[in-house]
């Protein structure tokens, strides 16, 4: 009887992991695929057409291309980071892709994104939300890297990297919510604002829930 319960529990956990990771992997790869047209450096793409005034600014233009390149690279690199198989059997892959993720986020992804938040679509609150996201993305990646490389506190490293990945994944979840609210019949700007807030705070909440379920002393994970 006990073994049956254990097997059922294991099956549930595995099923949950598949249900979580299958769409995450698929949508992440789709996002990377969708960024490819931007590297033709053609401005006739609707996203850039809307920002034609900004596109004429060299700093914004460079930041944009740097940011999408960094975004695609860090989302791709992060896909390998949470695999327990790679972590146990192929630790070298985890270290290399982890370093790529950290360097890309800290040196180019977050700074270029932070600059672009000042010109982000939406009102003051939406820009503030983007800024908050950029700051938290930078801070969580920084803390996660320091915890592993300097303090050798791998548990803290894991929790901060979960937070960092949650922020990186807002690019994916934002698009999902945007499509869902569009189908629901929301107006463009309402849809944009709601999708943004839900993706940022929703992802942060999911990350905290995962950390809370895994850690014995949740509050200490925020300080260490």
């Amino acid at each position: 009887m006990y073994s049956r319960k254990l097997t059922a529990k294991k099956a549930l956990v595995t099923g949950g992991l598949i249900l979580f990771w299958a769409p995450v992997i698929f949508l992440s790869l789709l996002l990377i695929y969708n960024t490819l047209p931007y590297f033709t450096f053609n401005r006739d793409i609707s996203f850039l057409e809307e920002r034609s005034v900004l596109y004429d600014k060299p700093v914004w233009r460079i930041s944009f291309y740097v940011h999408i390149f960094a975004g695609a690279l860090c989302i791709g690199a992060a896909l390998l980071q949470f695999s327990s198989f790679i972590l146990k059997k192929r630790k070298r892959i985890h270290i290399i892709s982890g370093k790529i993720y950290v360097f890309v986020v800290l040196l180019i992804g977050a700074p270029s994104g932070f600059y672009m938040t000042f010109f982000a679509k939406g009102g003051f609150l939406e820009r503030a939300c983007f800024m908050l996201m950029a700051v938290f993305w930078f801070y969580s990646t920084y803390k996660g890297f320091v915890a592993a490389a300097r303090e050798k506190n791998f548990l803290s490293h894991k929790y901060w990297m979960i937070r960092s990945y949650a922020m990186a994944l807002t690019a994916v979840t934002f698009r999902v919510y945007h499509i869902l609210f569009y189908l629901w019949g929301f107006g463009h700007f309402d849809n944009y604002a709601i999708s943004l807030w839900i993706s940022v705070f929703g992802n942060a909440a999911i990350a905290e829930l995962i950390i809370f379920s895994q850690s014995k002393k949740y509050l200490t994970t925020l300080t260490t």
């Binding site: 000042f118 010109f119 009102g123 920084y142």
Partner: protein, 176 residues
């Protein structure tokens, strides 16, 4: 590692400071991008609730407006018969169409529904002026032909009016 962390922190802070300066500069110059305005115009133009306006409709509307603004050429605002008394501070006085265009702003930023009507007024005004001009120009076609002929005569591209004297000088030089 320390170098990386310091470089990253500096890059992040610099991006923030530069972004803030850039935005303040844009606000000061009145070139700060306003995304919401475009949406509001569409809503005003259709006179319906935001939810009923599809993206396709919005795009069509914006493209249409941009095209109508693009039709207005700078050459249409060229002035003729300028007098010194018309100038204040050395600048030519603004035409009605030019004033309207200034109200409209750059072709990229379609700001309000009023602008659309202003653009249409401008286009009709320009067309009327163009018709008047074309009527006047038809009488002056012979003069233009003479001018073209004179351009061909002077290889260095300096057009000079053909007078009896110049013809006489040319004929003398050929005799010599």
């Amino acid at each position: 590692m320390k170098t990386l962390l310091i470089a990253a922190t500096l890059a992040f802070i610099t991006a923030g400071i530069y972004g803030a300066i850039d935005v303040s500069r844009d606000i000061k110059n009145g070139t700060f991008i306003q995304y919401q305005d475009e949406d509001k115009i569409v809503v005003e133009a259709f006179g319906k609730h935001d939810n009923t306006i599809t993206e396709k409709k919005k795009k069509q509307f914006i493209v249409k407006n941009k095209a109508s603004v693009a039709e207005i050429k700078v050459s249409d605002f060229s002035m003729s018969d300028i007098k010194i008394s018309d100038f204040s501070r050395g600048e030519p006085p603004m035409l009605y169409e030019a004033l309207l265009l200034e109200k409209v702003g750059s072709p990229d930023s379609v700001k309000s529904a009023d602008v659309v009507t202003a653009i249409n007024d401008t286009i009709t005004a320009i067309n009327e002026r163009a018709n008047e001009k074309s009527q006047k120009d038809s009488s002056n076609t012979t003069k233009k032909e003479e001018r073209k002929f004179s351009l061909k005569l002077y290889s260095r591209g300096r057009p000079r009016p053909i007078t009896k004297e110049t013809v006489a000088v040319q004929s003398d030089s050929t005799k010599k």
